[in-house]
Amino acid sequence: MKFGKKDILGIKDLTPDEINLILETAESFLEISTREIKKVPTLRGKSIINLFYEASTRTRTSFEIAGKRLSADTINISASTSSVVKGETLIDTARNLEAMNPDVIVIRHSAAGAPHMLARLLRQSIINAGDGAHEHPTQALLDMMTIKEKKGKIAGLKVAIVGDIMHSRVARSNIYGLSKMGAKVVLAGPATMLPRNIEQMGVAVYTNLEDAIRDADVVMMLRIQLERQKQSIFPSLREYAQHYCLNRTNIKQAKKDVIVMHPGPMNRGVEISPDIADDPSCSVILDQVNNGVAVRMALLYLLTGGNE
């Protein structure tokens, strides 16, 4: 199958066939990262710009490693070191980068829709590495890859996503992706963290952690951003942790073979107790990171016409 997309802006725009193609391609790339010499010449001569307007360790490093393992030249630009501090607009920055002829631009931005603006204007492929509270497609793809790897399938599984759904691009991308692949998605969080009419996305919504994770095959915990406390989204971390932290007791509501996921970075003891996070019998958090590199390699490969 030929991959017909110019950009990866969101899971909303992908078909199940396209998701499967990406996941299968990623699975075939997994092995490269286990070699002694972790590099193939597939994208030699291609250049990839990582344009990060928001702090990121995991995602940016993952994209950089993905590019390098395929022998592409990767260039990292972060907002603090670039012309952004001189007041240049995103469009001007992007047009300047375009003039240098990269093949792929990976962008993370705090403003939802910023990657879409670039995709409209530039001839290069754009990969959304997270835009505001909108989408984080590569995270959802690596999550789906991890679920498929651990459970052998996605269809028919019950996946609970718990936490600040309102501000989570990870949640939105996973709701689209998992629903498209046939999973049943349920959400949980205090009502202040559940955005209006979210149930119209085809998900069940709970305000109670136990109800949401009951008989779940997968539990995905979201990071609580501490600054939200100031916006009265929740009164205190203490109270949040008492009711929404995944721990030894409440996890018993889920299936015995439940897997626990977290997009990172974790607040240990807030949304996830340390013993769950570090328990190899249920936690797949580091597998997610490993698969993240493979998924990003797959996307770079597919977008540059690798499978044609």
């Binding site: 469009i91 939802a112 829709g113 910023a114 879409h116 955005p195």
Partner: protein, 431 residues
């Protein structure tokens, strides 16, 4: 100099007139409207009368937009009083009332006088300045209403910003009522709307954009109705966009309170679904609402709850809009699309032609106490000639406004202003 407009259908809601007639203009005033007027005139003094054949056209009182932003002084790159005036006449408007959120804010006599001088220099359209309720529209201290009125303002508003302090709003309504000045309220609870970018609902949820809830508007509409009732004063609600606001205003009117209201064409034309492209031209405050709200706005127009249509003309420069959605300015440039979009209400069966014209002429004139919006003999000859059949496509590049920020670029319209006459002078001729 006499001007005779012949062969048109003449609609003047102020006198319940809808007839085929000729209209005679003399020395900048309307002197007569009657069928076959041309024939009797021709026999008297044919040479002194310039006749314009308007067969197939509709002649209405010059349209009034009671809510525009002309941006001068301070934001001349967005619009000037001259370019905004040119946009107004091209859109069929003979009078506009401009909001005070220029820089500096129109909160004192000298700014009002400046605006009037610039309008006179442009000499295209009647420009009625609206003064600020509070100094710098900061919401803390009243402006000198009396002085502003003497300088020529026709109303008061802190438009663009809500008056969050209910006590200040109360004092504003009371003080303004003693001067007969209408107060126009931009209804938005800024705590509820804080940081919001679009209507709060399904689309804000999937787009990951901070929502502006309908209650941010409705809570303030309710508050201002209560203040007007308690103080026995009047209040005009600007740019109504939600079902709840329409209901509150309808109930207030039913109870005999002195509440009037306007809406804008985009609120009965577009919904928040349009924002899925992240096109910043759809970013506006109050935001585009949902399908049910659009229906409620149309019902409010049809049953008279909403008295006026005003486009909230908000021109912006490219730099204000060609940025990330979150950083883009709110507003739509509207004077050149307002009539075309509003005419759609007639084809949709929401309003009759006279009802629509009333909301764009005599009703805003009455709200602002202007001697306008009518074709009664003796008044200034402000006339708009509409070709109701003409099909056209919106092209922002052809706008007279400096603001090209319209979500209606490429939109198919039927009907537009073909001629705009202000005080007997043809200021726009699109034939």
């Amino acid at each position: 100099m006499k001007l005779l407009l012949t062969g048109a259908r003449v609609i003047d809601p102020s006198q319940n007139m809808d007839i085929s007639a000729d209209v005679l203009l003399e020395n900048g005033k309307i002197t007569d409207i009657a069928p076959e007027l041309g024939k009797t005139l021709d026999s008297k003094s044919p040479a002194k009368v310039k006749t314009i054949d308007l067969s197939g056209m509709i002649v209405v009182p010059g349209l009034i937009d009671m809510h525009v932003h002309l941006r001068e002084p301070g934001f001349e790159y967005k619009e000037t009083i001259a370019s905004g005036s040119a946009a107004a006449v091209a859109g069929g408007f003979t009078s506009v009332a401009c909001m005070p959120n220029s820089a500096p804010v129109n909160d004192n006599r000298s700014i009002t006088e400046f605006i009037r001088r610039k309008a006179a220099e442009a000499s295209l359209v009647n420009v009625y300045p609206i003064g600020a309720i509070s100094k710098d529209s900061a919401g803390t201290q009243l402006t000198e209403f009396w002085d502003l009125k003497e300088a020529g303002i026709v109303a008061l508003s802190d438009d663009g910003k809500p008056v969050m302090d209910a006590a200040l709003m109360r004092r504003a309504l009371e003080y303004a009522s003693s001067l007969g000045l209408p107060v126009i309220s931009h209804c938005e609870d800024s705590n509820l709307s804080s940081g919001g970018l679009m209507n709060e609902g399904y689309y804000s949820t999937i787009l990951g954009l901070r929502g502006i809830p309908s209650i941010a508007e409705e809570a303030m509409v309710a508050r201002d109705i209560l203040i007007a009732e308690f103080t026995r004063t009047s209040v005009h609600i600007a740019h109504v966009s939600t079902t709840g606001s329409v209901r509150l205003i309808r109930e207030a009117k039913k109870r005999g309170l002195q509440v009037t209201a306007e809406t804008a064409p985009h609120y009965f034309t577009l919904t928040d679904e349009s924002l899925q492209s992240y096109d910043t031209n759809f970013k506006i405050n109050p935001p585009l609402r949902n399908v049910a709200d659009v229906t409620a706005i149309k019902e409010g127009l049809a049953d008279g709850t909403l008295d006026a249509i005003a486009c909230d003309h908000a021109p912006h420069g490219r730099t204000d809009k060609e940025v990330e959605f979150e950083y883009a300015s709110f507003g739509i440039t509207g004077l050149e699309t307002s009539l075309g979009l509003s005419l759609q209400l007639i084809s949709d069966g929401v309003l009759t032609f006279p009802e629509l014209i009333a909301k764009m002429s005599i009703n805003p004139a009455r709200i602002l106490n202007l001697p306008k919006g009518t074709l009664k003999p003796g008044v200034d000859a402000d006339i708009t000639v509409i070709d109701p059949k003409l099909k056209w496509e919106v092209n922002v590049k052809a706008f007279r406004s400096r603001g090209k920020n319209s979500p209606f670029h490429g939109h198919q319209m039927q009907g537009r202003a073909m001629m705009t006459i202000v005080s007997g002078e043809i200021k726009y001729d699109g034939r």
